[in-house]
Point group: C2
Chain length 194, copies 2
Amino acid sequence: MNNQKPKYHQIIEAAVKVIAENGYHGSQVSKIAREAGVADGTIYLYFKNKEDILVSVFEQKMGQFVDKIADAIKGKDNVSDKLLKLIEMHFSQLSADYHLAIVTQLELRQSNLSLRLKINQVLKPYLTMIDQIVEEGMELGEFREGLNIPLVRQMIFGTLDEIVTNWVMKEQKYNLIRMVPEAHALIIGALVYE
Amino acid sequence: MNNQKPKYHQIIEAAVKVIAENGYHGSQVSKIAREAGVADGTIYLYFKNKEDILVSVFEQKMGQFVDKIADAIKGKDNVSDKLLKLIEMHFSQLSADYHLAIVTQLELRQSNLSLRLKINQVLKPYLTMIDQIVEEGMELGEFREGLNIPLVRQMIFGTLDEIVTNWVMKEQKYNLIRMVPEAHALIIGALVYE
Ligand SMILES: CCCCCCCCCCCCCCCCCC(=O)SCCNC(=O)CCNC(=O)[C@H](O)C(C)(C)COP(=O)(O)OP(=O)(O)OC[C@H]1O[C@@H](n2cnc3c(N)ncnc32)[C@H](O)[C@@H]1OP(=O)(O)O
Ligand SMILES: CCCCCCCCCCCCCCCCCC(=O)SCCNC(=O)CCNC(=O)[C@H](O)C(C)(C)COP(=O)(O)OP(=O)(O)OC[C@H]1O[C@@H](n2cnc3c(N)ncnc32)[C@H](O)[C@@H]1OP(=O)(O)O
């Protein structure tokens, strides 16, 4: 996975579009090559196989996304605002790219276990960021004591993820970003009420 | 879908096991027939094709599950207790059957859109039941006013579903039912805090 070479990003962007439009199983490497405007052989200079392309797409986009969030929340001293920012960025990242949302909500949910374990490892830094926000909120007394961190993170991620999946299933026809304040209020309630 | 004939249930139970063990894509109709102890041709007396088997498995199990919950909560006059019962039954139903949990959390998440829309229609009565509990809680003043029902249901279902998926990904090695009180407390917090 040589992501310094110039055609790498071209192939990644082509892959998002082809996978969203044809499904992962219907996305032959040759289709991705055609969309990227490169020869089939070129793909194999960057990626081992189709599975490697899917995981690399996610790795690449997720890495950028986590860096962006880390940057955006580090200035805020209020933990509730950090969570608000995270929700806002989660929804707006996916709102901004129709194809990306189909890939994250449908195509990355592969039932093939070894592929799925790789995908989940890529997701982990994002989940860890959520854990850290929850821990900080407890330390600062903004959230109630004794929260079960993995369970709370499952609640937060599960809530955001299900809201996004419903919006994708409804063909993205309503405004997802408008859901941010209510989603935030529900999650804060869960974390402070005792 | 003639579910009165005696072999119907035999095939349904065989399908759950075969699909959990081989994945939906690796589950040929002939494998399901062998597990059920019937001839391949017999399967086609009951089901149009493999997709029809998957949807029917879900329909059958979901129908029973929704009836059981409706029955269990109708006696309770406290809305928080209805929700507790629903969470308890969701977790214990899946805890009780290793194969069923793999099917619900992995194999029913097909990215094929037409199949997925059918699966989601089968899920709908369960989601409607959650909506009714939330509405009742608002009417009785147990929950705060002005909750956005679809969004709240996405939070509740998303939370439960993500907790179950994590437990499946961890090969069901911890006790899911032990999570019930904490999951309930988080959800109640979301619904009452203002
Ligand atoms: C194209 C890309 C675009 C990206 C752009 C960005 C856009 C915005 C973001 C979009 C996100 C979309 C994501 C798409 C995701 C696809 C994958 C899914 O389907 S996700 C949706 C479906 N969800 C999934 O597939 C699940 C995803 N999550 C996971 O699989 C795991 O959390 C992990 C692998 C990520 C980390 O695992 P690990 O490193 O182990 O860390 P843990 O903390 O989890 O666990 C620590 C310990 O605690 C134990 N424990 C846990 N919970 C409980 C509990 N409730 N009670 C008791 N114990 C519990 C556990 O057993 C472990 O014990 P041990 O083993 O150490 O003894
Ligand atoms: C082997 C089986 C064993 C079973 C045993 C039982 C064990 C326990 C239970 C286990 C459960 C496991 C389930 C497995 C599920 C597999 C499927 C999944 O992946 S599920 C996980 C992934 N999740 C999914 O795949 C999603 C599943 N859900 C859905 O696809 C849909 O909710 C539906 C099709 C079920 C109902 O749809 P519909 O009849 O339309 O009713 P709606 O109320 O949704 O919508 C009403 C209106 O409100 C609009 N609106 C909605 N939200 C919002 C909002 N936030 N803001 C603004 N507006 C919103 C919406 O556009 C609509 O407007 P319009 O169109 O009328 O103008």
